[in-house]
Amino acid sequence: MRILRNISFGQYIPRDSLIHNLDPRIKILSCLAIIVNLFLITKFSGYLILGSFVLISIIISKVHPKFVFRGLRPLLFIIIFTLIIHLFMTEGEVIYQLGFLKITREGLVKGLLISFRLFILILTTSLLTLATSPISLTDGIERLLSVFKFIGIPAHEIAMMMTIALRFIPTLLEETEKIMKAQISRGADFESGNIFNRAKNLIPILIPLFVNAFRRADELAIAMEAKCYRGGEGRTHYRELKIKKTDILTFILTIVITITVSVMF
């Protein structure tokens, strides 16, 4: 059960801050601008500016940095892995040699740049999901996608599926834990044996989980139909998204920073 405790989905942390109160569309677009920018920059100073911009946003959001940096944990391995690959695999001026392995200056620079890139990328997206409730996030996505309705993108349906999926992640996790405990009480063992045995031992968890998930999906569909749900056409929103002055200012600030950074560095 220790496995489950480390996963934090639906990690929204409610606070009253400037970042939290921004329009979700603005937040998503700003994040996109930063992410695109991350792949255009080729100098450290650019990452420094962009990194500090993200860090300042974290401070403004009042979310404890501990939670933001926790998002890094699962990807730390990938970051270190890419760093090492770049260190040893890039041709160029050798600065350190260990047997047949050699570290080059170019490799060091390239590795660090890519590490920074991944680092800031994760921080930005973590901040987005930490400071935006899932509901308003999918709301924002729906509105942004509905721009592409004319080429046949079912914006509302996509957003509804995302909302439902997000809604049921904690439920499924809770249920997995319960079923695990129940099967452990019946004598199942999940913590020993080789990888094949472990995979086989998952059957007593997966089958009840799927059976229950299908049953729940069925019930949800019936409940939605009973409430006359009929898709996105003509559907109004309980909370209308409105662009405020702060939204515009924030967006302009982000765009100015990203454009300057990508032009200068």
């Binding site: 059960m1 129940a182 452990i184 009480s185 019946r186 007593p204 009840p208 059976v211 229950n212």
Partner: protein, 296 residues
């Protein structure tokens, strides 16, 4: 002494912003052969407490001994403990997964590494304990059964590991009256015929009143009452109401009679008890009246 709990405290998500204290300083002793009811309002910590009994949860502080063995000491084989203490979760039918009922009930014994012959014997025995006909049921899929039958199969799949103690979390929740009665009578049978210690977790007063011999009442992570149901319903009716539990309907009825000035015993648990108690009083009054009339 079978299970011994010493100053057990348990906190969910310790050190997180959503930290909640679920158990506060629980001290408890359970002997072999007891029939215990554990009642309390939703969210009072009942389920959390029973998960400590077989080591599914580790207390934040405090000690648990099962047959004298400290569960939290390094190197303790928890699988052996779980074999002694069978825990039946709420809605156990949601954990069924095998293709046939035979395989389902055989899962536990198979995990114990028993030979096939012994496994078959245990499946027969367990199905008999829950009143399911071996030949009729073993080939069927557990998913083709009714809710009550599924629950009995789930119960059998715990009984087949031959636990010394059986803990049941809300075993009658969501069952129709018939399914409820059959599950309850099977639990009683398991206790009286096979001598298995039973802990019944519930918030249904009627059910615990008519079945258990010792009653534990929990409130906000603490055990506030620990006595026979008769004593608790007679003397602590007010405490029960205060923690949002209330009394069994017959007991409440007797308390109301008493409040109206009728001198009745309020520790009744079943309708039959109440009937004989009321009759006794009525007969006395009639007798007195008859004597009066005779004197005239």
């Amino acid at each position: 002494m079978f299970i011994h709990l010493e100053n057990i405290c348990f906190t969910y998500s310790l050190g997180m912003p959503f930290e909640t204290e679920a158990l506060k300083n629980i001290n408890l002793e359970i002997d072999e052969g007891e029939f215990i009811g554990l009642i309390g309002h939703t969210g009072c910590g009942k389920t959390t407490l029973i998960q400590h009994f077989n080591g599914l949860l580790t207390p934040t502080s405090g000690k648990i001994y099962v047959e004298g063995v400290d569960l939290n000491k390094k190197g303790v084989n928890l699988r052996l403990v779980r074999q002694k203490i069978g825990l039946v979760f709420q809605y156990p039918e949601n954990q069924l997964f095998e293709e046939t009922i035979y395989q389902e009930v055989a899962f536990g014994p198979r995990k114990l590494g028993l030979p096939e012959g012994k496994i078959e014997k245990r499946v027969r025995e367990a199905l008999k304990m829950v009143d399911l006909d071996y030949n009729l049921y073993i080939e069927r899929s557990p998913f083709s059964l009714s809710g009550g039958e599924m629950r009995r199969v789930a119960l059998a799949s715990i009984l087949s590991i031959r636990p010394k103690m059986l803990i049941l979390d809300e075993p009658t929740a969501n069952l129709d009256p018939q399914g409820r009665d059959s599950i309850l009578s099977e639990i009683k049978k398991v206790h009286y015929n096979f001598g298995i210690t039973v802990v019944l977790v519930s918030h249904n007063m009627e059910m615990v009143a008519e079945t258990v011999k010792r009653l534990l009442v929990m409130h906000r992570g603490e055990i506030i009452l620990d006595d026979t149901p008769r004593e608790i319903f007679e003397k602590h009716a007010n405490d029960l109401v205060k923690v949002g539990l209330g009394l069994p309907q017959v007991t409440e009825c007797m308390h109301k009679l008493k409040a109206k000035g009728k001198d009745v015993y309020t520790g009744v648990l079943t309708v039959d008890d109440a009937e004989s108690e009321v009759l006794k009083k009525v007969k006395k009054t009639i007798k007195r009246q008859m004597l009066k009339e005779c004197n005239l």
